[in-house]
């Protein structure tokens, strides 16, 4: 059962473009929405995170937009660079049993061409 749906599966943009990755969820118990970035041969690393009471959050060239009523959130990368080429995962957290856990989307492979 996929609780966080992520699209697209892969994305190719030119340097300077603005790739957008979208995620949707159904579980209204989700209460925090992080994005992770994974380079080949490495584990994922937290990129940026947003709470559901905030509609937008920016950190450098990365922006999360959050639409609580639509249960959707997205990642925008401004002025994308070849070094941004990686797999991106959206995630959502909820309190399960006795502690928090994350549910991840299936990932988006981003390629930024020079």
């Amino acid at each position: 059962q996929q609780q966080v749906k992520q699209s697209p599966q892969s994305l190719i943009v030119q340097k300077g473009g603005i790739p957008i990755i979208n995620c949707a969820y159904e579980n209204t118990a989700f209460d925090y929405f992080p994005w992770y970035q994974q380079f080949p041969g490495k584990g994922p690393a937290l990129l940026i995170a947003i709470r559901p009471d905030v509609s937008e959050k920016k950190e450098g060239r990365f922006t999360i937009s959050f639409n609580k009523s639509a249960k959707q959130f997205s990642l925008h990368i401004m002025d994308s660079q070849p070094g941004d080429s990686a797999t991106y995962f959206c995630a959502a957290s909820d309190f399960a049993g006795s502690n928090y856990k994350l549910t991840f989307g299936k990932g988006t492979l981003l390629t930024v061409n020079p």
Binding site: Q6, G43, P44, A49, A91, S93, N99, K101, K106
Partner: protein, 113 residues
């Protein structure tokens, strides 16, 4: 520098073997997690632990067990490895106060023949 280490980067085992994957974190984190990562399926949670000797099932616990005898160490056990357990296994840890930020190890690529 925060660190999560996994005992092996690559591992090849035979069907039916018992397999141990070890994970150690040096950040004094309360929570530790085991995921498997497969192409097109993303990261799926196998088990997690929020305290020593405590464990919770994740989304795909079948065929796996875990052990956490010390705060810094979390082990994943495949009692009888099968070919469908060939995968990348990722360990992660987090603080309860920053539960959305998990620190991942580099992963163990397990092949079961």
């Amino acid at each position: 520098d925060v660190k999560v280490t996994q005992s092996s980067r690559y591992l090849v085992k035979r069907t039916g073997e018992k397999v141990f994957l070890e994970c150690v974190q040096d950040m004094d984190h309360e929570n530790m997690f085991w995921y498997r990562q497969d192409p097109g399926l993303g990261l799926r949670l196998i088990y997690f632990s929020y305290d020593v000797k405590m464990k919770e099932k994740g989304d795909i616990p079948e065929g796996y067990s875990v052990s956490r005898e010390k705060k810094e160490r979390f082990s994943l056990i495949l009692e009888s490895a099968s070919t469908n357990q060939t995968s990348m296994y990722l360990c992660a840890s987090s603080l309860t106060t920053r539960f959305y930020e998990q620190f991942f190890g580099p992963g163990t690529r397990l092949t079961v023949l």
